[in-house]
């Protein structure tokens, strides 16, 4: 829902709209009688509601750039992964990226939650589950010799990226998802959304956990 009173200027425009709205209703009722007033009220209400829900005047989110440019022999990678955070393919990619440079990896695991739980701020369970996956992933990265730290992020992966970029100047973002057909993020267009929104190179890694577990067996 868009709040029409986010600033004084918007509240002022809302006031002008209210004057026009009620002025027209009162004028119709006084000149034409009660039913004219009701008619104008109905028409204006429908028009106002249609305009309010159809308008799309919110500015697009700004592209967030890295705050601190890295040194030449240093690379900072932001990894966004949830269930695939422990995937072998993701780990291999990070190891590959870390060769010959001083790497700094920040792994952000979004705390996936249902909309109802999000709205009621019932996030403890989701955050605890995300933290567990993150801890396991970080220990695997440590075993692989990768300098990584991690944090649990917002349930919306794009918001989690934006939050992380405010404090972590990434040179590259690695987005890890399930394969197409099993990935909720791909279905929601998270990868394309991230490419449009952030001015940082983005690598998409598809991690097939089922195949990986079969290969291990």
């Amino acid at each position: 829902m868009k709040n029409p009173l986010r600033s004084e200027a918007e509240a002022y425009r809302f006031l002008l709209g209210t004057i026009v709205y009620f002025g027209a209703i009162v004028l119709a009722a006084v000149v034409g009688g009660t039913w004219w007033g009701v008619g104008v009220f109905a028409v204006l209400t429908v028009v106002a509601l249609f305009w309010f829900f159809q308008r799309d005047d919110l500015p697009p989110p700004p592209k967030t750039a890295p705050r601190q440019p890295s040194a030449e022999d240093e690379t900072r990678i932001l990894v966004i992964a949830n269930e695939t955070v422990g995937g072998v393919k993701l780990r291999e990619l990070l190891r590959e990226r870390s060769e010959g440079v001083r790497e700094e990896v920040l792994v952000v695991t979004p705390a996936l939650n249902s909309p109802l739980r999000t709205w009621t701020s019932d996030e403890d369970g989701a955050r605890a589950a995300a933290q567990e996956r993150l801890d396991a992933s970080l220990s695997q990265l440590r075993e692989a010799g990768i300098n990584a730290r991690g944090e649990v992020g917002d349930g919306d992966p794009l918001q989690a990226i934006e939050d992380a970029l405010r404090t972590f100047g990434a040179d590259e973002i690695v987005l890890s998802t399930h394969p197409e057909g099993r990935s909720n993020w791909l279905e929601r267009g998270v990868v394309d959304g991230a490419r449009n929104r952030f001015d940082v190179p983005i690598t998409h890694v598809v991690v097939d956990l089922e195949r990986e577990s079969e290969e291990i067996r």
């Binding site: 009173l5 200027a9 809302f14 009162v26 955050r127 010799g145 990768i146 730290r149 918001q159």
Partner: protein, 198 residues
């Protein structure tokens, strides 16, 4: 080469603050939602009284001072214009404009409130004179209470303006006060249109 998460063992975890919704925007949204519900409950009672009974409105032999209230409405609407002018002035670095706008807004709001008090003294009926009197005083009184709160906010904002607390970059106090004042004005237009005219 070291991997580490953020442990929470030694002290409480930091609060999770998402930047998805700005706290001030969310606060204003929740505040206005609560105000709409408050006014909505009074308007529900008002329309119930108007629709359920066959009695004319206002109940004879009483008359509502439509003209005086209309002038009062014009004063309150004008005070919103001066409030907007005040904020636009400080955004352009015009402190004199900010101060003049705020003083004018404050005195117009005060005029509105004093006129309403005078109207109460002369209207000829009391809150205990049936449902008609009760809902009239409740609706206009509730709005009057909001005007009083708005005037208090305006007073502090005006004092701060004369002390030079606001600049083109920092004028959040004027902005929030302005939103509240416009909201009060919008509610009065609804009250005046429905109670006095229709």
């Amino acid at each position: 080469m070291e991997a580490h998460a953020h442990p929470h063992g030694e002290h409480p975890p930091t609060a999770n603050v998402s930047s998805r919704v700005d706290a001030r925007v969310l606060g204003m949204l929740l505040f206005i939602a609560s105000e709409i519900m408050l006014f909505g409950s009074f308007f529900t009672a008002y329309f119930f009284i108007r629709v359920s009974g066959d009695d004319p409105w206002p109940l004879p032999p009483f008359h509502l001072p439509v003209f005086i209230a209309g002038v009062n409405t014009a004063i309150l609407v004008t005070s919103s214009f001066t409030m907007h002018w005040a904020l636009q002035s400080i955004k352009r670095g015009n402190r004199a404009g900010l101060q003049a706008g705020l003083v004018l807004t404050f005195f117009m709001g005060l005029t509105f409130l004093l006129t309403q008090v005078t109207e109460y003294a002369r209207v000829g009926f009391a809150p205990h004179d049936g449902a008609f009197g009760t809902i009239f005083y409740c609706l206009t009184g509730l709005h009057g209470a909001h005007v009083f709160v708005g005037l208090t906010i305006l007073l502090f904002v005006t004092i701060r303006a004369f002390r030079g607390h606001f600049s083109p970059e920092h004028h959040h106090g004027v902005e929030i006060g302005g939103i509240y004042w416009h909201f009060v004005d919008v509610m009065w237009i609804v009250v005046y249109s429905t109670v006095y005219i229709l």
